[in-house]
Symmetry: C2
Subunit: 142 residues, 2 copies
Amino acid sequence: MPSLLTIGRIAKLAEVNIETVRYYERRGLLPAPPRTVSSYRLYGDQSVARLRFIKQAQALGFTLEEIGELLALRVDAETSCDVVRQRAERKMADVAEKIRSLQAIQGALAELIAACALGGPEGECPFLASLEKQPIVKETEQ
Amino acid sequence: MPSLLTIGRIAKLAEVNIETVRYYERRGLLPAPPRTVSSYRLYGDQSVARLRFIKQAQALGFTLEEIGELLALRVDAETSCDVVRQRAERKMADVAEKIRSLQAIQGALAELIAACALGGPEGECPFLASLEKQPIVKETEQ
DNA sequence: ATACACCCTGTACTATACTACAGAGTCAAG
DNA sequence: CTTGACTCTGTAGTATAGTACAGGGTGTAT
């Protein structure tokens, strides 16, 4: 029995502002829910999960636009399985990359903590070394 | 021999806008570099690494303020080892949490791809199930 | 000695993601 | 049947993180 919730209710449950819920609806991130005769929105509890997912994905550096793309990943009349799989695989690569970056930062923090334990106070920041990425950049002039 | 770079140079190397470099300086994320007699900024190449780190951390959902805190993690005259270690450990927890969230999303994407391979088209989005987090929320009224 | 690409400061504009009203209607309790 | 908490739409304001000039100086290649 999926309970019906007002906008104030889901906002509180998902720990977001009421206005944010309406904003996400405008942005197309939250489907427009059914209304009462007096135009009150009535949500099911999957909406709460959806709101939490959005918040969480944002904290991971996804923009609302990207989050919309993630949430839209489903097979339907307009979208074949193949297309969905391709998109999902691209997102997977993004996510894997983010995980790698976070692990690098984790490593740098561990190093910092370890160095601290040894009592050897530091000068330079270990983060800068933690990200040996595309160091090759072609210079067009001297 | 650490080469000396103008602002335009490091901006290009780090793939950011020149104005962004100056903005980070104002924000205190990038130390004010030495200047030539004619007030041109001259950077060493660690500045490029720093810019890249900032960009990367942003893509992981850290705000510039949080990035500043990360970059400030070092032992010096004002900050004891103990304090630095404590802060680093708190950041570690944040990072670990982010990694867990990303792994949940990764799992949901894998599920989606797998379901697709089985030819079973989907209705509901697997992400919503991927984040069984604080589901306990106390309600003060009925 | 002048053209062109570069740099300076300062201020103003932009995009994204909210957040806060104003003014009006709704609903439940006493 | 009214009071207080809630909801509605619409519009405007805010914070964060840039980005874009204007107006002026610099550096060097021809």
